[in-house]
């Protein structure tokens, strides 16, 4: 047995996926040498500040695994994969409209795995479900800083990168992100920007600044996202500040700007604004580039701008919740989506940027130029400062 | 003594703090038409429900016996009784014949026997089977429902039939008719009827014996004549028929009578009722036992109290002469109507008049019961 397989098993053990006895038994059964075993056990007792507790988040899945094993689906194929149970199911929880329609059927056809696919509309909605610890999801797609939050709560399962044969396809720019150093948990899924979508046929001049949301001539024809990070963030950027600012004075200024624009806004609305852009009820909307592209597919007059003051850049990532019952399949799906042709399909359908270097999507809304890239900033978790943000957001909404 | 089919021995029934029945005892004989009479809330329905088994006596609350067996805890369906409810309680979802057959089915009567028995019961209450058997209760008149309810009870050939104000919802004419029929059925079938009513006239007409209830107790038990003619308490006297009351203190005895001095005048009462010197005495006199006469023409040996005629009321068979007596009391005197057109009554409003009665016609009542 090579050290790598043992490592993997050890990782499982640490993550609470195996109890101590089956870990040791299985190690011995694999024919590990006494020294390796001793070394591992030593590492184990030394390094396990996180000795797995059955009641911990991983407890429930332990049962799941036991069940799966009990069904006799487990095959000892000798290459170390057997530490993960083999099932024929996979549950994906993704943003709505965030995958190409035929990706899942294709994956099902190729692998024989039955996929349950559910969607959500906000990170918070998804997090609430994960915090329950037993949502039953195998793959979720949090936005960058949410990965940090989930990891901090010990809700994620560490990636087994060696199972991801297409890992090399990823563009180095999206690897080792600040929100998840060394991609311990996450595989980049899509990336995009939060800018301004507009109706080229309705506006006098293409908007190039967040200041457009202060422009009285577009009163009642504009919307911003229904999301505190995006709205307050845009006004922080407008004043040349970081969209992760926790400075009270800066936030107060953002609040004043937001309140000024609120009088002109039609609504705070996120993805649903697409239909109204198409119908012309809304002319100018704070929106993601990809959703803008989806709307553009319905109406050619829709265009996209990145404000000159800067905007948000984000990466959404595939992660596996610690409570996932079908980790092996989740990894298989991750790997599947890293194939260039699949990544291309997804990027084409959603209109978002692919982190896949070998993908070749058509991009009706161009990727940001290098110059634009410099203006973009990535959202980080606010930690304790979230309270201040929430207070300010409530004040904006109550104003 | 005849066979007792129902017997109550010092039975008590309490609902929470409310004592519905207090220590009542009586027995009902086989074939008897026994009425329980009283105003609403007196405990008469509770008494019937104790017999039926819907209620059970309190722990240590005496005994209820049916055919000699103590049945305190037996459930209604273990008692082999039949009952006609005030609301009839016909099953609205079942046809007339299915309503009547219900009890037979419950008691395991052979299937083949049932149609005949149903027909027989319908005949008994004079319901036309061809016409009514398939109808639903909603399609019947009040009187017809009443007959179905009766048939449903009688079809079981019960030894005891409980009737809870069964005629209350009928109009006067129908009620009279049914009273007669019930009495006839009672005689012909030999079934014991236990009849609850608040209608004193109905009770007097139909019953062999009546238990008058008041405030959870039996105020008096007896034949209709005993109850009417010798009421034991002011309550019974007031509740059954009309009565005039005279009261005072016993002041002296002379022969068979005690002399009683009241605020409105003195009168004699029979001595046998345990009146003692100085005791408060109250007597009841039925209007028809009173006479009205000129104050100076009172027949010898009769009690008389003088007053003024307040009004004369025409009732058909009789006339009521209302006489105001001293002490702001008005008594009613019933006078036979001998024809107001041919032989009009001499009395009119404002005349001085005395009411008079024979001492033996007044009933000395027990005190302490309003």
């Amino acid at each position: 047995m090579d050290r790598k397989n043992a490592d993997a098993m050890f990782e499982d053990f640490l993550a609470g996926r195996l109890d101590r006895r089956s870990f040791v038994t299985r190690l011995l059964a694999l024919g590990a040498s006494a020294t390796t075993t001793a070394a591992l056990l030593e590492a184990c007792s030394g390094g396990t500040t996180e000795t797995p507790k059955p009641a911990d988040g991983g407890g429930g899945d332990g049962d799941e695994h036991a069940k799966a094993k009990g069904k006799g689906k487990h095959k000892a194929d000798g290459d170390g994969e057997n530490v993960l149970p083999e099932t024929k199911e996979l549950s994906i929880y993704n943003w709505s409209d965030y995958i190409a329609e035929d990706v899942v059927p294709e994956f099902e056809k190729e692998t024989g795995i039955k996929v349950t696919y559910n969607t959500y509309e906000s990170n918070e909605e998804m997090m609430a479900k994960l915090q329950v610890g037993a949502g039953g999801y195998d793959l979720v797609v949090p936005t960058g800083y949410i990965v940090t939050v989930l990891a901090a709560q010990d809700l994620l399962f560490p990636l087994r990168k060696k199972k991801l044969t297409n890992w090399a396809n990823l563009h180095p720019m999206f690897l080792n992100p600040s929100f998840d150093p060394d991609n311990k948990y996450s595989v980049p899924w899509l990336w995009g920007t939060t800018g301004i979508a507009y109706r080229a046929d309705k506006v006098k001049a293409p908007p190039d600044s967040w200041a457009v949301f202060h422009d009285t001539q577009y009163k009642n024809k504009m919307t911003q996202m229904d999301d505190q990070r995006d709205v307050i963030g845009s006004w922080l950027k407008f004043r040349g500040k970081s969209l992760n600012s926790t400075d009270k004075a800066e936030l107060d200024q953002a609040k004043a700007d937001a309140l000024q624009s609120k009088a002109l806004l039609k609504a705070y609305v996120s993805a649903p604004v697409k239909g109204q852009l198409v119908s012309g009820d809304v002319w100018i909307a704070q929106l993601w580039n990809g959703d803008t592209m989806q709307a553009k597919a319905e109406n050619e007059q829709i265009a996209y701008a990145l404000p000159k003051e800067g905007a948000g850049l984000w990466t959404d990532s595939l992660v596996i919740p610690k409570s996932a019952p079908n980790i092996r399949n989740a990894l298989a799906f991750m790997d599947f989506c890293m194939r260039p042709e699949i990544a291309t399909k997804i990027a084409d359908f959603t209109g978002y940027g692919s982190p896949n270097a070998k993908a070749t999507p058509e991009t009706p809304i161009a990727y940001p130029t290098d110059e634009e890239m410099k203006r973009l900033e990535i959202q980080k978790d606010l930690g304790e400062a979230l309270q201040i943000w929430d207070q300010i957001w409530t004040e904006i909404k109550a104003g | 003594m005849a066979e007792s089919v129902v017997e109550f021995v010092n039975v008590n029934k309490t609902f929470g703090d409310f004592r519905a029945v207090r220590g009542i005892s009586f027995h009902i004989e086989k074939g008897e038409f026994f009425s329980i009479l009283g105003p609403s809330g007196c405990g008469k329905t509770t008494t019937l429900r104790l017999i039926a088994g819907f209620e059970h006596p309190d722990e240590d609350g005496g005994q209820v016996r049916l055919h000699g067996d103590v049945v305190n805890k037996k459930r209604p369906y273990e008692r082999q009784l039949a009952m006609v409810f005030q609301s009839y309680a016909l099953f609205p979802h079942l046809t007339v014949e299915k309503n009547i057959a219900f009890g037979l089915e419950m008691r395991g009567t052979p299937k083949a026997e049932i149609p005949g028995r149903v027909r027989e019961a319908m005949d008994m209450v004079r319901l036309d089977a061809t016409n009514f058997a398939r109808r639903l209760p909603a399609q019947l008149s009040g009187g017809q429902r009443q007959r179905v309810a009766l048939a449903r009870a009688l079809v079981l050939r019960p030894s005891i039939l409980l009737l809870d104000e069964p005629l209350g919802a009928l109009d006067l004419k129908l009620r009279k008719e049914m009273q007669l029929e019930l009495k006839t059925l009672n005689r012909e079938l030999g079934t014991t009827f236990i009849y609850v009513t608040h209608d004193q006239e109905e009770a007097l007409t139909m019953s062999d014996r009546i238990a008058v209830m008041s405030e959870a107790r039996i105020a008096q038990l007896g034949t209709p004549a005993q109850i009417y003619e010798c009421p034991r308490t002011p309550f019974v006297a007031k509740f059954i028929g009309e009565s005039n009351f005279f009261e005072g203190k016993a002041t002296g005895r002379s022969g068979d009578c005690w002399r009683v001095e009241g605020s409105g005048g003195a009168f004699d009462v029979p001595a046998e009722n345990g009146v003692t010197q100085g005791a408060d005495v109250i007597v009841a006199v039925r209007p028809e036992w009173l006479d009205v006469c000129a104050p100076d023409a009172v027949p010898a040996g009769e009690n008389a109290i003088a007053g003024t005629v307040r009004d004369v009321i025409y009732l058909g068979e009789t006339l009521h002469v209302l006489v105001d007596l001293p002490g702001e009391r008005t008594v009613t005197v019933a006078v036979r109507n001998e024809g107001q057109l041919a032989r009009p009554l001499a009395w009119k409003k404002g005349d001085r008049a005395a009411v008079a009665w024979k001492p033996e016609d007044c009933q000395v009542l027990e005190l302490g019961d309003a």
């Binding site: 037993a134 949502g135 119908s279 | 609902f15 819907f54 209604p76 039949a82 409810f85 609205p92 449903r152």
Partner: protein
């Protein structure tokens, strides 16, 4: 009484009926409109209904909603009927406590119900899914069923059961032979109410749903949010037609059985 309400009252009434029905009617009409965005009538089509068949999330959602609706209705109807029987036919201490308990679900705002249940599930580590949704629906439906059945029981002559018992039926026989047939319309309308509320619930369900448990309202909500094509009109029309039919059927069923002989 023959007095007609004054004309201005009738005008308000007419306006209210238009207000209640025009939106639904428009929705139905435009589910057959060819145009994808416009409110102009461009021609008749069944295209949006065909689209529904292609969308297995809608079909799955419908199946789940029916499954959750039926099971939660069955449970809450049984529980609620038993509670109503206890309240209507039995004397017991603690009645006011039970009555207060039954009030709680009726007066608690949905959002509080949904969130507090989610907290409970988090604490218990109870997996979110069709079971957790069904439990939630049973919890908020019991009270409504109890109230409806209780009202019917109160309108029902209690001496019917006594009559059955004195005719020889024991409690269980009397219950099945007399009480249930009488109570049936009440139970049915309680069940109808429960099913509709379960079938329609979005707020509470959205908090307690998990993988593979997106019911129809949740799918519809996502579609309403996106608001892009008339498929939503089509699915609304279907829901509308189904509820109308159910309503008419239950109305028929309950009207055939009079409450009492009077």
């Amino acid at each position: 009484m023959s007095h007609r309400p004054p004309a201005w009252v009738l005008a308000i009434v007419a306006a209210v009926y238009v207000f209640l029905h025009a939106p639904l009617l428009v929705l139905v009409v435009f589910s057959f409109n060819e145009s994808k965005y416009s409110v102009e009538w461009t021609g008749f089509t069944l295209h949006w209904y065909q689209r529904l068949l292609e969308r297995h999330d809608i079909v799955d959602g419908l199946v789940r909603s029916v499954a959750v609706g039926l099971s939660s209705t069955a449970l809450s109807t049984v529980f609620g009927t038993l509670m109503a029987l206890a309240l209507a036919r039995h004397r017991f201490r603690g009645r006011s406590f039970v009555e207060a308990l039954l009030y709680v679900p009726i007066v608690t705002p949905e959002i509080v119900v949904g969130i507090s249940l989610l907290i409970l599930y988090v604490l218990l580590g109870w997996p979110l899914g069709l079971t957790s949704i069904t439990i939630a629906h049973v919890a908020f439906n019991i009270s409504f069923v109890t109230v409806v059945v209780h009202a019917r029981l109160q309108g029902m002559d209690g001496s019917l059961e006594e009559a059955a018992m004195i005719l020889g039926a024991d409690e269980i026989t009397a219950f099945w032979r007399v009480t249930v047939p009488q109570l049936w319309p009440g139970i049915l309308s309680g069940a109808m109410l429960a099913f509709t509320m379960s079938f329609d619930d979005y707020v509470i369900t959205s908090f307690v749903s998990g993988t593979g448990s997106q019911t129809l309202p949740i799918v519809v909500y996502t579609m309403v949010r996106k608001n892009i094509e008339p498929s939503i009109n089509a699915i609304s029309t279907i829901v509308l037609v189904v509820t109308t039919v159910m309503l008419i059927v239950s109305d028929r069923l309950s009207r055939d059985k009079p409450l009492s002989a009077d």
